[in-house]
Structure formats: structure tokens, C-alpha cells
């Protein structure tokens, strides 16, 4: 079984909104044992594949994040009522995980959400310098952030630009 899957999602034609995808692609190019999914958005199909992995990273852009934030995504019980909003074809990482648990009975031991701050969401493919720098630092520190094989379930944040957040309900 492959150990780690990185899922980057966002619009790579709206500059920093593509931060998650670019970061995921760089991680997959840097680390041989990491599989990659680069997506415009998360869909129900994503739920089918994550159960094959021990560690899943969702990488996204965030207008609220002030620095790179890493948080744990935990499965919710009774996600029928917790889905919260009308859904069509686009899902949040939480919903992807809930679907994986409910539909396929699979739950990766570790699911982490990484959010990159954004400063430019205009049309274009180039990242802003600040977001690009944070992505590069994150990719460099990825082996430290990544849960170690068989290691304890804790979010590690050794890089200065990475701040761990509490797990999401």
C-alpha cells in the first residue's frame, strides 16, 4: 500500500488559488514515495481513493490563513446531519473524509489539511512571491511535517513558517 497521498486542489488560473496544486506537484516531484492528485476541486470520486493510503494531505489556498497552517481532519460520526450545506459536485476535505468513511468504510489513519495564505487571486498562472516562498519552505520541510512511519499521530511543525492548528471538528 502506498503510504502518502497529497491532494492539491484549486484554480491554477487564478494565481494563488492554485497554491495547493503547485505545492502538491512539487512535493510529489521531490519525494518518490508520495502519490499525487492535482484537482480543480474535490469531488465524490476523491473519496474512493483516499482509503488506500495511510497518510493523506489536502493542500489548499486560504484567504483566512496568515501563514501556512496544518490541521488534522478527523472523521465525524453522523455526517449526514453534519454535511451542513447543499452539495453538488464539490466537496470540502471534511466531506471527502466523511464520504470515504460512510460509503467505503475506509479512513486513512492520518488526514491533514494544509492551507496556504494568498495575496493575489487575479487571473493568471503565476503565484505571488510571498505564496511561492511559503510553498517552497513547506516543500522543503515536508519530511518534518509528514507523520513518520508508525509514529505517533501528531502534527509536527518544525519549519518556522508552518503553524499547527487544532483539529477540525
Amino acid at each position: 500500500m502506498a503510504r502518502t497521498l497529497v491532494i492539491g486542489f484549486g484554480n491554477d488560473m487564478r494565481r494563488d488559488d492554485g497554491a495547493g496544486r503547485i505545492a502538491a506537484e512539487k512535493i510529489a516531484a521531490t519525494y518518490d514515495d508520495v502519490d499525487l492528485l492535482s484537482l480543480a476541486q474535490l469531488t465524490p470520486e476523491t473519496a474512493e481513493v483516499i482509503g488506500d493510503y495511510e497518510v493523506v494531505f489536502f493542500l489548499d489556498a486560504s484567504v483566512n490563513a496568515k501563514r501556512v497552517e496544518v490541521s488534522e481532519v478527523l472523521p465525524r460520526s453522523g455526517c449526514r446531519s453534519g454535511s451542513g450545506r447543499p452539495m453538488s459536485h464539490t466537496l470540502s476535505p471534511q466531506q471527502v473524509l466523511d464520504l470515504a468513511v460512510e460509503l467505503y468504510g475506509t479512513c486513512p489513519p492520518r488526514v491533514l489539511l494544509v492551507e496556504f495564505p494568498v495575496s493575489d487571486l487575479e487571473f493568471g498562472c503565476e503565484l505571488s512571491p510571498s505564496t511561492r516562498k511559503m510553498i517552497d519552505e513547506f516543500v522543503e520541510s515536508f519530511s518534518a511535517v509528514r507523520p513518520r512511519e508508525g509514529g505517533p499521530a501528531e502534527v509536527q511543525a518544525q519549519a518556522a513558517s508552518v503553524s499547527p492548528s487544532p483539529g477540525r471538528p
Binding site: 470520486e45 453534519g82 454535511s83 447543499p86 452539495m87 453538488s88 459536485h89 464520504l99 460512510e102 460509503l103
Partner: protein
């Protein structure tokens, strides 16, 4: 005189894009009018000006995340027309394969993800759980199968184009990459599962028809033309062919229309209250020329389907009613969509089993030979027209795109009016009425991001407004 009042539903949920519905009431609280407003705008046609013709398939496929493959094909065909070349046989078969994969994944999304919560949980179910998550308790296998069926279509698109959405694979003159034997075999192996899922879905829908037998007539059968591509001998067509129009009694009123001459017989009217234009059939004027497109319209205009299982289902659909009522009732779009999935799977198997599909001659090359060209194909939601004008270097001077959802605009408004008239009384709107009006829109599976070329969100708002323009009440999700 008492003021007229209006109810607004905004945004409409589980559709592709952002819209609202206003319901205008008269002094007695009865529905006087109802409108489906599309409130987003992006303007792809304008910013394509100045780009090179060869870039257009890649650019216009970005219009939509649901049906990018259809824009890709229409755009590449417009490019073929401007180069004035025929494309290799293998390239046409590969483009057909892509178009059918697009139908499969889009129709599966519509049926399993967007509409099945209404159909399986009922229109009176709590909106908080009337979604895919809410379905999981009792219909887990249906959801899993729906996801796999959509994935089948996506897998074909990804195999051909290198990615699931926004692939620039089709180009003026053909396609960029051929199909390998290994990939062909892998896709063929998926056919039995896709077929089984569609058969199960058809069985489910049969139960839905029985369950909602008393409600289905309320979805209306407003007089309207049906328009779609047909083959030379009247069969269901999706890539080439000519346009046929039938009226609400099933009479053919126009046939063998060259789709590239669309502007001669199709007009577009604008309103001040929606960014979505109102296309119509010019000879019959704005109102008489209202027409529908998409799965139900295609099955209305064709005489037969070339694949056996889909043809058997088409005959069952026609047999639901002795007259033409069924073909005019938008609720049966769901059935038509499943029949088209069945057709797509059968046809995909035929194409993949054809040795030509593995050919390496996939692209013809030429310089600019004409200064304008029209590309037409049947997108999941109906005929899609791309019309480009270029200069002698192939730089785009003007673009017009006629999108399927826009062509259903008048019909969607008529459906909203009909449902509102039936379910809204006394100046207030119940949750059940709101749900049914939304469900009426979802029958058409509108893609507003495509039709206004806009970025879409899917919130829901309803407003109640009087004749002086005052908002008397509002509900939103």
C-alpha cells in the same frame, strides 16, 4: 388597487451556477408571473478576441468544469471549418468517444449527485439532508455506483486528454494524441459495470415515476419546440448531422437544417433581469419560437437510436403516453438522461471495439483558408455552437457561442411559472413549494457557468416582492 407581490428564490441549489427565482403575485396572492434569473456574468466571448485560433479549444474548455470536453469539441470543429479541412477518420472516432464520455459523466452527475436526493428522499425531505450525504443511510450502493459511473466517463476523458477537465487534446484538424491498445482494453473492461449501474438506475427511476405519478403532471408540458441534431436518416446524433425541430405535438416543422447556419433561423433576445439570453426560432417569433434542447428534446426529434438497449428504452418512454405529453414534460428529462447514458455506453463499446480507434493518423494540418467557421456538437445539455471570425493570420476577431442551457431558458421560465402557479398561493411560499420549483429547474440540469460564461456558486434565495418593488419576504439557504 392592492400591490402585486413577488417571491424570490435565491440562490437555486444543486445546479451549475448562480441564479435566483422571483415569483410575482397579484393582489389576490395568486401567481401572476415567475422568472428564473441568472445573476452571474463572465464574458468569455469578449476576452477571446485577439487570441490565436489554435488556442481556442484550450481556452474555451475553461468555460466549464462540467462539460469542458463539449466546448473543446465545438471549438476544434470551428477550427476545422476555418482551416477548411476534413479530419482523419480515427480523429473523428476519438472525438466521438470523448463526446460520449462527456455525456456519461455529466448525466451521471446530474442523476446520481444532483437529482437523486429529490427523487429518492422526496421533495418534502429536510433540505439539510436532501443531498448525497442524506442518501447514504438507505442508498449507499446507489451512490457508490453513481460515483463509479461518473468516474468511467472521466476515465475515458483523462485517458484521451491527459486530464479529467480542461484538456486541450482536440485541436483544429484533429486531436493531439492517439489511443493505445492497453488503455483501450482497460476502458473496455469497465463497460459491464457501467451498463449494470445504468440498468439499476433505470429500475430506480421506474419506481420514482410510480411514486410521483400524481406530481409529475404538475411539472408541466408548456407548448414548446424540441430541437436537436439527427443523423441523415433521423437517428440520434451527437457529433455531426443536421438540426431537426418538432412541435409539442410531435410534428416535424423544420428538418435538415444546417447547424452552421444557425444564426439564420435562431435568434437571441435579452432582458434587463437576467444575464442569460433567450434564444428562439426566428420564423415563429419570441414566444411561439420557444424551444427546448438536451436529452428529452433529442429523444423527441430522433426517429430511433442506433444501439439496441437504448432504443428499447426510448420506445418505452414514448409508450408512457399515447400523445406527445410525456415528451413535453421536463420531469422526463431524468429518464431521457439515463437512456442517453445507456446509448453512450453501448456506443463507447462499439467505438472501442473498432480497430480504427487505435490509428495513428489523427491530425490534418492546414493554414487559414476561411475567415469564419462554426463548430457544433451535442453537449450533454443540448446543441453547442462556437462561431469564430479570424483574420488572415488566424487571430480571433469575433466570437459567438450559443450554449445549450441558454436555449432552455424560455422553457425553464415556463416550468417555473407552471410550478409556482400550482404550488404557491396566498402570498407565502412553503418549503415544499420551494423545493418543487427548484426541482423543476434541476430537470433541465442547467449549467449557468457555461451559458453566461460565468464563475458559479450555488446558494439559494427566495424573495416576495410587491408591485411597487418592495421586498415583502425573503428566504435563503
Amino acid at each position: 388597487m392592492e400591490p402585486q407581490r413577488t417571491i424570490t428564490i435565491e440562490p437555486v441549489t444543486r445546479i451549475e451556477g448562480h441564479a435566483k427565482i422571483t415569483i410575482h403575485l397579484d393582489a389576490d396572492g395568486q401567481v401572476n408571473d415567475a422568472r428564473f434569473h441568472v445573476t452571474e456574468f463572465r464574458g468569455f466571448e469578449k476576452f477571446c478576441e485577439g487570441r490565436l485560433l489554435w488556442e481556442m479549444p484550450g481556452i474555451t474548455s475553461r468555460i466549464c468544469g462540467i462539460c469542458p470536453a463539449s466546448h473543446l469539441i465545438a471549438s476544434a470543429k470551428a477550427g476545422d471549418a476555418i482551416l477548411a479541412i476534413g479530419i482523419p477518420e480515427t480523429a473523428e472516432k476519438l472525438r466521438r468517444l470523448l463526446t460520449l464520455a462527456q455525456w456519461t459523466q455529466s448525466h451521471a452527475l446530474s442523476f446520481f449527485h444532483l437529482s437523486s436526493p429529490d427523487l429518492l428522499l422526496g421533495f418534502d425531505a429536510d433540505p439539510a439532508t436532501r443531498n448525497v450525504f442524506g442518501l447514504m443511510a438507505e442508498h449507499k450502493d446507489v451512490i457508490r455506483r453513481g460515483i463509479r459511473l461518473r468516474k468511467f466517463g472521466q476515465e475515458i476523458i483523462e485517458t484521451l486528454g491527459g486530464r479529467r477537465i480542461h484538456t486541450p487534446w482536440a485541436v483544429p484538424g484533429g486531436v493531439r494524441e492517439s489511443l493505445g491498445a492497453g488503455d483501450r482494453d482497460r476502458l473496455l473492461a469497465w463497460i459491464p459495470e457501467a451498463m449494470e449501474t445504468t440498468t439499476i438506475a433505470l429500475g430506480i427511476l421506474e419506481g420514482v415515476h410510480a411514486k410521483f405519478a400524481h406530481e409529475i403532471p404538475n411539472f408541466g408540458s408548456t407548448p414548446s419546440l424540441s430541437v436537436g441534431l439527427v443523423s441523415e436518416d433521423g437517428g440520434l446524433e451527437y457529433y455531426s448531422g443536421s438540426l431537426r425541430m418538432r412541435d409539442s405535438n410531435g410534428n416535424t416543422i423544420a428538418d435538415q437544417l444546417d447547424p452552421t447556419d444557425y444564426s439564420e433561423y435562431l435568434g437571441e433576445r435579452s432582458t434587463e433581469w437576467s444575464y442569460l439570453k433567450f434564444p428562439y426560432y426566428k420564423p415563429l417569433g419570441h414566444d411561439g419560437g420557444t424551444y427546448r434542447v438536451g436529452p428529452l428534446a433529442r429523444l423527441s426529434v430522433c426517429d430511433y437510436i442506433e444501439t439496441p438497449l437504448a432504443e428499447a428504452e426510448r420506445q418505452k418512454l414514448r409508450a408512457l403516453s399515447a400523445d406527445w405529453d410525456v415528451m413535453g414534460n421536463p420531469f422526463y428529462y431524468h429518464y431521457a438522461r439515463l437512456i442517453e447514458i445507456l446509448f453512450a455506453i453501448e456506443k463507447i463499446e462499439m467505438l472501442l471495439s473498432d480497430s480504427d480507434i487505435l490509428g495513428e493518423d489523427i491530425r490534418s494540418k492546414a493554414m487559414i483558408n476561411r475567415q469564419q467557421g462554426v463548430g457544433v456538437c451535442e453537449a450533454p445539455r443540448g446543441p453547442l455552437f462556437h462561431h469564430y471570425h479570424v483574420d488572415e493570420d488566424g487571430v480571433i476577431q469575433q466570437v459567438n457561442m450559443l450554449i445549450a442551457t441558454a436555449q432552455n431558458n424560455q422553457a425553464m421560465n415556463a416550468t417555473v411559472r407552471q410550478l409556482a402557479s400550482h404550488y404557491v398561493h396566498g402570498g407565502s411560499i412553503t418549503e415544499g413549494a420551494l423545493n418543487r420549483i427548484e426541482a423543476g429547474i434541476r430537470c433541465y440540469d442547467p449549467c449557468l457557468s457555461c451559458s453566461t460564461h460565468a464563475i458559479g456558486k450555488m446558494p439559494l434565495q427566495v424573495q416576495l416582492i410587491d408591485s411597487a418593488g418592495r421586498v415583502l419576504g425573503e428566504r435563503s439557504r
